[in-house]
């Protein structure tokens, strides 16, 4: 935390140990780092390096075995399951590799999902539908609202998932291998959306990936290995997805 500005995410000596068939597995062996609001952080590392476990803890899906995790200045490492659920609902959005949309459920109903669990804020079904449609429009899928996931392409499904993640206006978006199931062109499209979210809306993005090329869209790259951070550097060669998209559009369409 080199700047005086308080970090949005502050992890202090976080460890996570699983008991697997008796033998303890140390997924995280003491991770300390901070992420400021509006950063686009790419976390890379080989599988088993602890990067996914780290994201689950930061995303309040899991709790650390030891260490402290301050989210927006509040220690959330020992909150109850209900409290963590509320934080996930209000402050955090997730995008997954497998899209994780509800099957046999229309796109707009998938997007509405977080609002169904926004306890305490009395939102009428009509208002819910309106906000879901707006979120779909923001990712350019307003005319696919009634489609079920199996009627959508991978890129479209991932955009529905992004719309869902953004519905409650979260401060942070966690993306776990969001391009793992996508071809290179749609991957760039998704990265474009992420970069615009960061630039235009100031949303903090934590991107987990094992592809170095994808990580290069981030403004900061953190490398994990064996449950530890091995490097944490600003990305000086940030790729611009929008520019690449234009370049791709100029190429002959034969290879698509």
């Amino acid at each position: 935390m080199s700047t005086g500005e308080p970090a949005l995410i502050a992890a202090q000596e976080i460890t996570k140990t699983y008991a697997m068939e008796g033998a303890p597995v140390h997924a995280l062996r003491g991770v300390t780092l901070g992420i400021r609001g509006g950063e686009f952080v790419a976390v890379v590392g080989p599988s088993g390096s602890g990067k996914s476990t780290f994201m689950h803890i930061l995303g309040c899906l899991d709790r650390p075995t030891s260490g402290r995790y301050l989210l927006n200045g509040r220690d959330v490492s020992h909150l109850s399951d209900d409290e963590l659920s509320t934080i996930r609902n209000r402050q955090i959005g997730f995008v997954f590799q497998g899209f994780n949309l509800l099957a046999r459920t229309s796109a707009v109903e998938n997007v509405e999902l977080p609002l169904l669990y926004a306890h305490g804020s009395h939102i009428t079904p009509a208002e819910r539908r309106r906000r879901a449609m707006a979120a779909l429009a923001a990712v350019g899928l307003q005319d696919r609202a009634a489609h079920h996931p199996n009627q959508l392409s991978g890129g479209q499904q991932q955009r529905v998932a992004i719309a869902r993640a953004l519905l409650n206006d979260p401060a942070i978006l966690f993306a776990d291998e969001p391009t793992g199931n996508l071809d290179s062109r749609t991957s760039i499209e998704v990265m474009d959306i992420f970069q615009r979210l960061k630039d235009e809306r100031g949303i903090t993005i934590v991107l987990i990936t094992h592809e170095p090329q994808v990580a290069e869209y981030g403004s900061r790259i953190i490398r994990f290995k064996d449950g530890r951070v091995v490097s944490d550097l600003p990305n000086t060669f940030r790729r611009a997805a929008a520019a690449e998209l234009e370049a791709v559009a100029l190429e002959p369409a034969g290879d698509l």
């Binding site: 899906l61 659920s85 996930r88 997954f96 994780n100 099957a103 046999r104 999902l113």
Partner: protein, 489 residues
């Protein structure tokens, strides 16, 4: 709630199979209860229709001399009149029929004497001195206030010529109360209705014809709205009464359907009378007849100011006693029975009725018990589907948890799904059960009764089954770790 319903809609086949399992369970329970209570009511009704709970108070006392000998039954003419379900004697209607076959009854000078009703009337008038006019409608009103009394009807009886145009028919006239159809449980109205309380209180000139009388005077035409003349007074016909009982068919001279009914108040007004011939009472419970009889006797003795050592100026009999005395039995058997009537009374049809009641109640419980097993199977079906669906939808649970569903949100979704399944099954089951019960009573001629209580019970049980069998799967669902379930393939 909406979440749960939406989730169910997504899996139509599974949902509908589970619902039908539940529906069969509920339908089975409901139908079995319907058959059981139907049998109970049928037995109860037959007993009531046979007059097991009937008590008749007659003005005057003929019993003084006749209690000892068998003649007692035969010499109770007014009592005999009340025994409407049975022909008075085997031969009387037969003779009537033969006579009518040979002559037109209107032309037959002997008709008056051969007519079985007339014969009875003769007996009635022979006993005329005994039938001192001691009962009043005030007495009837007082009896209405006794506990255990169900219905009370005043009775005035006359012989009368019914005239409609050229047609005449000599028959029996009963001045009575609006409640008589409730006492004669097997009555139905082929046309129209019984006279109303309003017509009775205003002593209007309205008449209900017995089926036989109506047939004699109007043929097959609907007489409702037409006028007949009684005592040369115009009376408006409001209904025709017939019977549903298979034990009795309307026959000439049967005093019940070869008869006309008018409000007793009208008889009082037109004939300037104030007394009653008799009062008919039903006890609310078949087993209570003897007690009610005692109460009525006590009440009337008090009202009539009869001293301790004086005999009653009225006669209280029960239908059961009369049925034993002359319910179509062979004379020698009847003689033997009535000879022992004192001892027999204690084990009579009252108790038979109670025993039958108990037996059917046991049968109902047994049937419902068997059906409840199918309900249990339906419940296990729901649990099975819910457990399967928890496994199948692990990923869905993970997704919901990731977007902020709390463990209890997931739990209540799954419980609500189970309850929705079972209640939907329950509602369908009720409809199926109602149809099945109707079908049974229509095609097999089994009587079935479905009470609102049984329906409510079924819905309640269905919901309870849903909660009970949905609880465990829902708990499992809520306990799933969000990360594990997100990774679940």
């Amino acid at each position: 709630m909406a979440i749960a319903l939406r989730a169910l809609r997504r899996n139509r086949l599974q949902t509908s199979l589970t619902i039908s399992g539940m529906a069969i369970g509920v339908a089975a329970v409901l139908t079995m209860i319907a058959i059981g209570t139907g049998a109970e009511t049928a037995i109860e009704n037959q007993i009531r229709a046979a007059g097991m709970n009937l008590i008749v108070v007659t003005a005057g006392n003929y019993k003084v001399k006749s209690t000892e000998d068998f003649g007692g039954g035969a010499v109770e003419p007014s009592a005999a009149l009340r025994l409407d379900e049975e022909p008075l004697s085997e031969s009387a209607p037969l003779i009537g029929a033969i006579v009518r076959a040979a002559f037109h009854p209107e032309d037959d000078p002997m008709e008056k004497h051969n007519h079985p009703t007339a014969k009875q009337r003769l007996g009635d008038s022979e006993a005329g001195l005994g039938s001192a006019a001691t009962l009043t409608s005030m007495d009837a009103e007082a009896i209405r206030g006794l506990s255990g009394v169900q219905y009370v009807a005043e009775g005035l009886h006359q012989n009368i010529h019914v005239k409609a145009g050229e047609k005449r028919w000599f028959t029996r006239l009963h001045g009575t109360d609006t409640r008589l159809p409730l006492i004669r449980r097997a009555w139905t109205f082929g046309h129209g209705r019984f006279f109303s309380a309003r017509e009775q209180s205003r002593a209007e000139q309205v008449v209900v014809l017995g089926a036989v009388a109506a047939e004699r005077v109007f043929g097959d035409a609907n007489p409702v709205g037409h006028e007949v003349s009684l005592w040369n007074q115009p009376f408006r016909v409001v209904g025709v009464v017939s019977t549903t009982s298979w034990m009795v068919a309307p026959a000439p001279g049967d005093d019940q359907f070869d008869a006309v009914y008018i409000p007793f108040s009208t008889v009082h007004r037109l004939l300037n009378l104030s007394k009653l011939n008799d009062i008919t009472i039903t006890a609310a419970s078949t087993g209570d007849v003897t007690r009610v009889m005692g109460e009525v006797t006590k009440l009337l003795r008090a009202r009539h100011d009869i001293g301790e050592d004086k005999p009653d100026d009225f006669t209280v009999t029960t239908q059961a006693r009369q049925a034993l005395a002359k319910g179509g039995m062979r004379p020698d058997v009847a003689r033997a029975v009535v000879g022992n009537v004192g001892g027999l009374e204690k084990v009579t049809l009252e108790q038979l009725g109670k025993t039958l009641d108990r037996a059917t109640r046991t049968m109902t419980a047994l049937l419902a018990g068997i059906a409840a097993v199918s309900l249990l199977v339906g419940g296990i079906g729901i649990m099975n589907v819910m457990l399967l669906s928890v496994t199948e939808r692990t990923r869905e649970i993970g997704i919901r948890r990731a977007v902020g569903a709390r463990a209890r949100d997931v739990r209540s979704q799954f419980i609500l799904e189970a309850v929705a399944l079972s209640v939907a099954g329950g509602l369908i089951g009720i409809v199926v059960g109602l149809i099945a019960a109707r079908g049974l009573s229509q095609y097999l001629r089994w009587s079935t009764t479905i009470s609102p209580g049984a329906v409510l019970l079924s819905v309640g049980v269905a919901a309870a089954v849903g909660i009970f069998f949905g609880w465990y799967p829902a708990k499992q669902a809520a306990r799933l770790d969000p990360i594990q379930s997100l990774r679940y393939e």
